[in-house]
């Protein structure tokens, strides 16, 4: 038999490679191409210069950052105690409670955000008066389960005898939490933060549905693309891609410090 026709395990990667080329590599090349060319197809750095000299785009980027960071913090503040109670309490119906937090994820996204919009309209009157607050509320509502689940799993795995050992060695309840529970839940915090911070930087759909806006980089890209300005839109995508890359590197570094890497369940 001819060697070339022989099927071996390596060939199993062909569908995956094809997928990768079609949906990851090719779009990336296209983005690169557009980001470094002008409308006539000539190579240029103008888009870069435009982006970093335009206070409007830089402002949007920073605003997007602010929304993402505040959303992440709010999620963390809500999710940690929730996950702690779910994982550590002897409460028998806690799985029902956990389900209540997961349940919104099963409901159609459009329906959820439309409902939220109506509630906010009733509460605030004119919802466009509080863009930052509403962005944070919308994103928190959307991403909270992604923060709770990794925290829940890492707190659930926490060995009770470690907490007993700490109190045995003289730590009061607060010290036990600070010196043992919190450090050991860092992997959960890291994966929760990764799962909330990165999407909330670019997820413009929530904002777009709450009120049409160009407040965050995601919506900026959309507005450029709808105006057939592929070049500037691609450049912003590229900048975001680089930011995401850097953030991922940093968070990976964090979880590498922990000996057993905990993979979030989502």
């Amino acid at each position: 038999m001819m060697k070339g026709l022989c099927f071996n395990r390596k060939h199993l990667c062909i569908p995956y490679a094809a997928f990768l080329i079609l949906f990851v590599i090719a779009p990336l090349i296209v983005i690169f191409y557009y980001a470094f060319t002008n409308g006539q197809g000539n190579f240029t750095f103008d888009n870069f210069v435009n982006f970093f000299t335009n206070t409007n785009t830089i402002g949007t980027l920073l605003y997007g950052f602010a929304v993402a960071i505040v959303t992440t913090l709010v999620c963390l503040i809500i999710a940690y105690p929730t996950a702690y109670i779910l994982a550590r309490s002897k409460f028998k119906k806690k799985y029902v409670l956990l389900l209540l937090f997961i349940l919104p994820m099963w409901i159609n996204f459009t329906l959820r955000i439309t409902a939220l919009k109506e509630i906010l309209s009733v509460l605030e009157g004119n919802i466009s008066a509080y863009p930052f607050l509403n962005s944070v509320i919308g994103m928190t509502y959307d991403f909270l389960p992604f923060m709770i689940l990794p925290l829940y799993t890492s707190l659930l795995k926490l060995d009770n005898s470690l907490l007993e050992a700490a109190s045995d060695l003289g730590a009061n309840k607060f010290t036990v939490f600070l010196r043992v529970t919190l450090p050991l839940s860092v992997p959960g915090i890291v994966s929760g933060v990764t799962m909330v911070l990165l999407p909330s930087m670019t997820n413009y759909v929530v904002l777009d549905m709450l009120y049409n806006s160009t407040f965050i980089p995601g919506s900026l890209i959309f507005s450029y693309f709808s105006a057939y300005d592929w070049n500037n839109g691609s450049l912003i995508s590229l900048v975001l891609l680089i930011i995401v890359f850097i953030v991922t590197l940093v968070t990976n570094r964090f979880s590498d410090n922990e000996k057993d890497k905990r993979v979030a369940i989502l």
Binding site: A165, D168, L169, R179
Partner: protein, 503 residues
């Protein structure tokens, strides 16, 4: 003994868990300063629960725990001057060896006395300085023989090393009592033996009181000054290893500590006991006709020629165990295990001698009669050389019998009970005697009657297999009378024998 010698006292300590299981009951114990005390018992006997109550992880339902005379039973663990070595080490995975050991030291505040300008003395609570912590950690690592391990991550250590770090982490705080919860359970045999000796040496060197929990009787005998044998939440016996081994107070202790032959015996004369069909001299004084458990250690039985022995039997098996042979001998329907440095060929008949100091008698405590039984095709039960009417529906909840005698369970399943093996229990108060031979399910002779104040306790023995019925009766009968045994149908308790192996 003066009170001040006791470092810890447990007074009537009882622990009932949420699901109403009684883990520890009526626990009274005094531990002297510097003692090595071991809680020994099978798993689930309440020994770990007791330890956890001393540590403060569990609060006793009732009773008191006194430390140096002060009641500490309601104090949280961090307020107690005791430290624990956990079964699975419980080292902090996010901290290195140094930080693990320093954990307790960093939280500790000690009183320092100063003098101010005017010469007045005052005390201040202060944390330990870095240099002090360094010194203590280094010393603790020296004690457990792991110098230079400060910077290592705990995940890179072997089981034995982790165990040493766990010990170092506890003793570095200089606790008044060190609690060890089966600390060597996860180590292999050789490592365990090494650590046993090291722990014993550490105990001598440090002078701290050790309370050690184990289910390994050999470990307990090797290491302890005092052993507390626990079963089902109750203390069975407290004593030195020698006392526990040589003078077990009941058959549980005898059976749990070392290997034992346990027989039913009857006291037949002054310092004479009959078991296995022979009469022996013994050292324990009991009333004549008293039923006793006879415990004989396998090494206390000496092999001799058939003519010289108290007992004669046939060798069934002989297994070489390294130091000795373990020989099983059949004497009629009894089996006896002997440990001896010499052996005898399988199938040969040998004689056995047991000296009086090798025979330990224990009073039988009777509240119920227990038998092995079998259900017949008439839905009666056979046990103790007799056959009795019984209620087989008690074996399955909400079941009933149909016209053909099959058992119908609550779910409608039809079961033929013929030949099913059951455990039978009958209370001593529920057995009656009759001189009508055919009135009862079994017949036997009264072999013993003991007056117990308001009633007599009788023992009726059947002829065929020498099964005993113990019963209480206010009427007077005579020893040797042939009687039949009557048990009301509803007083026979049946329990299905567990299928397959015990858990």
């Amino acid at each position: 003994m003066s009170k001040s010698e006791n470092i810890i006292e447990l007074i009537d300590v009882k622990k009932v868990f949420d699901d109403d299981t009684i883990a520890v009951d009526n626990f009274n114990l005094e531990v002297k300063k510097g003692e090595f005390v071991t809680f020994l018992g099978p798993s689930g006997c309440g020994k770990t629960t007791t330890l956890r109550m001393i540590a403060g992880f569990e609060l006793p339902t009732s009773g008191k725990i006194l430390l140096n005379g002060e009641d500490i039973s309601r104090l949280p663990p961090n307020k107690r001057p005791v430290n624990t070595v956990f079964q699975k080490y419980a080292l902090f995975p996010h901290l290195n060896v140094y930080e693990n050991i320093a954990f307790g030291l960093r939280l500790k505040k000690i009183e320092n006395t100063y003098a101010n300008d005017k010469g007045d003395r005052y005390t201040k609570k202060e944390r330990l300085t870095k240099a002090e912590i360094d010194k203590k950690v280094k010393k603790a690592l020296e004690i457990v023989d792991l110098e230079g391990f400060e910077k290592r991550s705990v995940a890179t250590l072997s089981g034995g090393q982790q165990q040493r770090i766990a010990i170092a982490r506890a003793i570095v705080n200089e606790p008044e009592i060190l609690l060890l919860d089966e600390p060597l359970g996860a180590l292999d045999l050789k490592m365990r033996k090494e650590m046993q000796i090291e722990l014993k040496n550490m105990h001598k060197k440090l002078g701290i009181t050790f309370i050690y929990v184990t289910h390994d009787q050999e470990e307990a005998l090797t290491m302890s000054d005092k052993i507390v044998v626990i079963n089902d939440g109750d203390i069975q016996q407290i004593g030195t290893p020698t006392e526990i081994y040589n003078e077990p107070v009941n058959t549980f202790v005898a059976d749990f500590i070392g290997e034992s032959n346990i027989f039913n015996g009857t006291v037949v004369g002054n310092l004479k006991v009959k078991f296995c069909g022979a009469t022996f001299d013994c050292l324990d004084d009991y009333e004549i006709n008293q039923l006793v458990d006879v415990v004989v250690r396998p090494e206390d039985i000496k092999i001799c020629s058939p003519a010289e022995g108290h007992l004669k039997g046939k060798v069934i098996s002989s297994v070489f165990k390294g130091v000795h042979y373990e020989i099983t001998v059949a004497i009629g329907k009894f089996e006896i295990i002997i440990q001896s440095t010499s052996t005898a060929p399988v199938g040969s008949t040998i004689g056995m001698r047991i000296e009086p100091d090798g025979i330990h008698l224990m009073e039988k405590v009777y509240t119920v009669n227990k038998y092995d039984g079998e259900i017949t095709k008439n839905n009666t039960v056979k046990f103790g050389d007799g056959e009795f009417e019984c209620d087989v529906t008690q074996l399955y909840p909400a079941s009933r019998l149909d016209e053909e005698g099959y058992l119908i369970t609550a779910s409608g399943e039809k079961i033929d009970m013929t030949g099913v093996e059951v455990d039978v229990e009958v209370d001593t108060h529920d057995i009656q005697m009759s001189d009508d031979k055919d009135a009862g399910g079994a017949q036997g002779n009264i072999i013993s009657m003991i007056y117990k104040g308001d009633h007599y306790r009788y023992i009726v023995r059947t002829e065929e297999n020498e099964e005993d019925y113990v019963l209480s009766c206010p009427d007077t009968w005579n020893t040797g009378d042939l009687v039949s045994i009557i048990i009301p149908k509803d007083k026979i308790k049946l329990v299905l024998k567990p299928v397959g192996e015990d858990k």
